[in-house]
Amino acid sequence: MTDALLGVVIAVPVLASVVPLIASFWRDKIGWYVALIALSVNAFIVASIVRGFLNEGRLSHEVGGVSVPYGIELALDGLSVPILVLVALVSLGTLVYTRNAGPRSNSFYSGYLLLTAGLIGVTVTGDVFNLYVFIEITGLTAYALIASGDDGRSAYAALKYLIAGTVGASLYLIGIAYAFVATGTLNMADLSARLAEVGHSDTLVLTSFAFVVAGLGVKVALFPLHTWQPDAYSSAPYGVAAYVSALVSTVSAYALGRLVLTVYTPEFLVSNPVVSSALVYFGALSIVAGSVLAVLQTDVRRLLAYSSVSQFGLVVVAFGIANPTSVFGGVVTLFGHAVVKGSLFFAAGIFAYRLGVTRLDEYEGLARKMPYTGAAFAVLALTLVGVPPAVGFVGKWYVALGAVRAGETSVAVVIFASTLLTLMYVARLVDRMYYGAAGTGTSETAVADGGTGGVCVTYGMVALVVLAAIAVVVLGPVASAVQETLALGEVLGT
């Protein structure tokens, strides 16, 4: 029974997304309420699904009763459970934020619900082509939402994202086309068995892997495929930027992990040491390049975007090493990063709406004017650095331990060094916020016209950010407790 819920949890937001559009004939601004109801229902369904997972282990559902491998399978295992929970929570949290901050139009919330549906679809699907479809759904809606900002810049950034994202998704499609040509099946579990039969060193298999990784790499925004990200994040409205940064790349990284680890499996990486090294070094390059580029930024949102490049590099390294310890570290980092990055964008939005500050040099002395948001911002930023006991440290620990266990010493060095690299830009931010000379004049003028876009910052928005800051600190020790339940060893087949 619980497995049927896997289908329901996608269907609810899709169906709900139609309602605001229809209702706009009678009433404007009803979108938020529809989204709230739909996503709350979804949250309950996710809770039941998780309970089902805890009882039964891996869940699987065949859509329409058509048996695997001809039909589409929806599946949930230890790798996807945290991501599903993450999507459910963040979608509700962003809703709270966009009540005051974001665009309130009906079409916005239709898009929002469709985006959520797409994200959940990517998480629960067990079919590689279905994954492509959901990735494109996610992408389409993300492009539309990013373009919902007020000025033309957001439209242009969305267009660039569209072109880059479509190229990425198409490369992924070519990849699974090669895999299909090699094996004749599209179901993930079946594909993994057939690929092993064809032979992991076969040219077709290698080609498909390359295209898949390249395509998903664009979506995850790894260096050097990340160029769409800074513009997209800095032109979108803050609520959208938070949602996209928290979830879209995260879910794409999850998809990358799902394919590399369960379809191609760690045996593939073992049979092709060059490929495995390339993947890991690719990730390590992102870690370094992302941090270095982040230090050079003057706009806070662009800084946060490059910071994401760095963090996703760590996740890709974790997946590339492919032992249960590092994969768990990767999942913890994904989860933690999503919450942290989303909340950082929320906080940046609060600063922009209240004080009109968007650039790093305008952040001088900010923490004095807005102490709670400033403190939450500092805690979240320090979590990125890896200050214990918060979730960033826990993720890093497992990934580093996994790297050392796998004998990848140079990668372990990069992982440890990433603390210092992240510190480079976080320290500047925190230092400026707390010790800068306050009030350089921009704040006065901004307050006079009510901040950016006339949005009034509510206690709810600040409370959300503070709650997130507390959550990431608490999540650290909690994460280790979850390790057993996820049973990643089974997922990896080791």
Partner: protein, 122 residues
Amino acid sequence: MTGIAESLLTQYYHVVFVLLLGIGVYTMIDAKNLVKKIIGLNVFQVSVFLFLVSSGYLEGAEPAIVKDGGGPYVNPLPHVLILTAIVVGVSLTALALALVVRVYQEYGTLDEEHLQEVMSDD
């Protein structure tokens, strides 16, 4: 050498796929006009469709409508996949063009270089 030449000549679908892929990517990168970039994107996507569809082809096979005594059938799955992908491509093109219209309304130009200038003046 003969092996490659032979396979290139017999699998000319593959060759065309690669050519179209290259043309699409080149257009996306090189064209200054935004609409041309979208055209390039479409060409790129079409190349992928071509690849998948042609992969299901069997020489001497019949269309995938089952009848009694029917011979080998062409695999219908790639066709189905491509139908979905075409729909996705259409929606993407529609969205992209809508964004282009918006950009044009705001900035009055569709040339990439002019746009950079105008936006940095903002």
